[in-house]
């Protein structure tokens, strides 16, 4: 239950994060203005950041605790075990989760803290805002970064495609007529988030946004 609730909280974040990022397509003014708007409210910004970090920590802690308990529930493994209908995503939650953790760590050091590739950390645009747009465009002209970010998005997509529908089930939402819709809900949201983010990376890489 805790795993589902912290997970859903993080899903809400990635959805809004993707929507905010899409302002890249509106040009430097929109994106840099949006970034400045967020930084203008330091209390809200830090409350959200601390909330997200503790939610992520709790999510990882609960996942570890559960999987250790689940491992104890079957001390002797089957010699042959065949899955009948479990999705690839549901079987690789631990792997996609770890990919995500590594990716989020890298992403925070890269575009948030500016520790990796610090060239753009303090550059300003003509309006006096921090040049987030320039930083993003610079980053994704580098094929190495593009590969890393696409791998991160693959992890995110896999994780979400099982996670959202699974959380809905764990929270006890069930309806005879709506079940198929609820099941489709997860992969669809996951796909939208991933496509939105990948669009940004590829648009920069292929020079559509410069």
């Amino acid at each position: 239950m805790g795993l589902a609730m912290t997970g859903l909280g993080l899903v809400v974040f990635v959805v809004f994060h993707m929507l905010g990022n899409l302002q890249l397509f509106e040009g430097p003014h929109a994106l840099n203005g949006y970034a400045a708007f967020l930084r203008d409210m330091p209390i809200v910004l830090w409350a959200v950041r601390i909330g997200l970090l503790s939610m992520a920590a709790l999510h990882i802690g609960l996942a570890l605790q559960l999987s250790m308990r689940n491992r104890r529930a079957r001390p002797v493994e089957y010699t042959i075990h065949r899955y009948r209908q479990a999705s690839i995503a549901s079987r690789t939650m631990a792997i996609s989760g770890m990919v995500l953790l590594l990716f989020v760590g890298f992403h925070l050091l890269h575009l948030t803290a500016g520790v990796i590739d610090p060239g753009f950390a303090d550059r300003r645009d003509p309006a006096g805002y921090r040049d987030v747009y320039g930083k993003v465009v610079h980053a994704f002209q580098n094929p190495f970064m593009v590969v890393l970010y696409l791998a991160g998005q693959l992890g995110l997509g896999l994780h979400l495609s099982h996670a959202i529908a699974s959380s809905v089930q764990t929270m006890g939402f069930e309806h005879a007529a709506l079940n198929r819709l609820l099941k489709a809900f997860g992969p669809v949201i996951g796909l939208i988030v991933v496509l939105g983010n990948v669009a940004i990376v590829l648009a920069v890489f292929f020079g559509i946004v410069r």
């Binding site: 104890r72 764990t170 929270m171």
Partner: protein
């Protein structure tokens, strides 16, 4: 038909088990899987060897006794049936078949392919009942319910408690079993009064027995001989949340109605 069987043999709960290979000969395609094993055992007995222990009773798919993992799938390759309803024509001649017991901490192996499933009984004792006064049976149709309610309750009640859901689950979780029992009773008026207490007690009992948790992979549903839907697991979660809210606002309930009165 001829088959090569790779069967798990284990003398007792604390002994080390191992696979032993047997040949099954002169098998008719119309034989059930258990009849095929009967043939193997007959031959073993003839040779003065110990027959393979496996559980069985009704041999018509309603008792929930048979419990074999066949080539990695509980109750074998067909869906919606028990091991006893699986026929040898389903396998190709000369096939190599691996047979294992249910594997879970909560289901300790007693001998060979027989496991102790009394953990499920203890979950039932914790809350899988309704409390009614003894006396003459109540007339049918005294409490009228809708057709959809009756159908839903019946779908859940078709669980035969074989434990294939536990066997198939990556986490050896008994959620589908508990979900079926809780949903069955929570859907009917007779089960409503103890609804909140039941779901909490049964889930606590499940945890006590050492079953794992639900990862929503739905492998349980795919092997369930009664095709019980995992929507009952969502319903179980719903009941549990509801119980958390209801119980917190109720005065503490009396002890179990079945406790001895002093």
């Amino acid at each position: 038909m001829k088959f090569t069987l790779n069967i798990w043999r284990q003398n007792g709960p604390h002994e080390r088990g191992r696979f032993i290979t047997y040949e099954a000969q002169d098998v008719s395609p119309g034989m059930s899987f258990l009849e095929m094993l009967d043939g193997v055992n007959q031959r073993l007995l003839g040779n003065g060897e110990e027959p393979v222990a496996f559980e069985q009773d009704c041999r018509e798919g309603i008792c929930g006794s048979c419990s074999l993992v066949i080539n990695g799938i509980p109750h074998g390759p067909d869906q919606g049936i028990t091991t006893c309803q699986l026929y040898m024509r389903r396998f190709s001649d000369g096939a190599f078949i691996t047979i294992e017991p249910w594997r879970a901490k909560a289901f300790p192996i007693l001998k060979d392919l027989v496991v102790d499933r009394s953990a499920l009984d203890r979950i039932m004792q914790a809350g899988g009942y309704i409390s009614v006064n003894t006396g003459g049976a109540v007339d049918g149709n005294v409490i009228l319910i809708g057709k959809d309610q009756a159908e839903t309750a019946m779908d859940a009640a078709s669980c035969i408690g074989c434990g294939a859901c536990v066997a198939a689950c990556k986490n050896a979780s008994a959620m589908l079993f508990v979900a079926a029992k809780v949903s069955h009773l929570a859907t009917l008026p007779q089960g409503r009064p103890e609804r909140a207490r039941r779901v909490s007690a049964m889930l606590e009992a499940m945890d006590r027995e050492g079953f794992g948790s639900c990862g929503n992979q739905y492998e349980c549903e795919a092997v369930c001989p009664k095709n019980i839907s995992t929507r009952f697991i969502a319903n179980l979660n719903h009941e549990y949340l509801r119980a958390g809210i209801v119980e917190s606002s109720l005065p503490s309930e009396p002890e179990s109605p079945h406790a001895e009165s002093s």
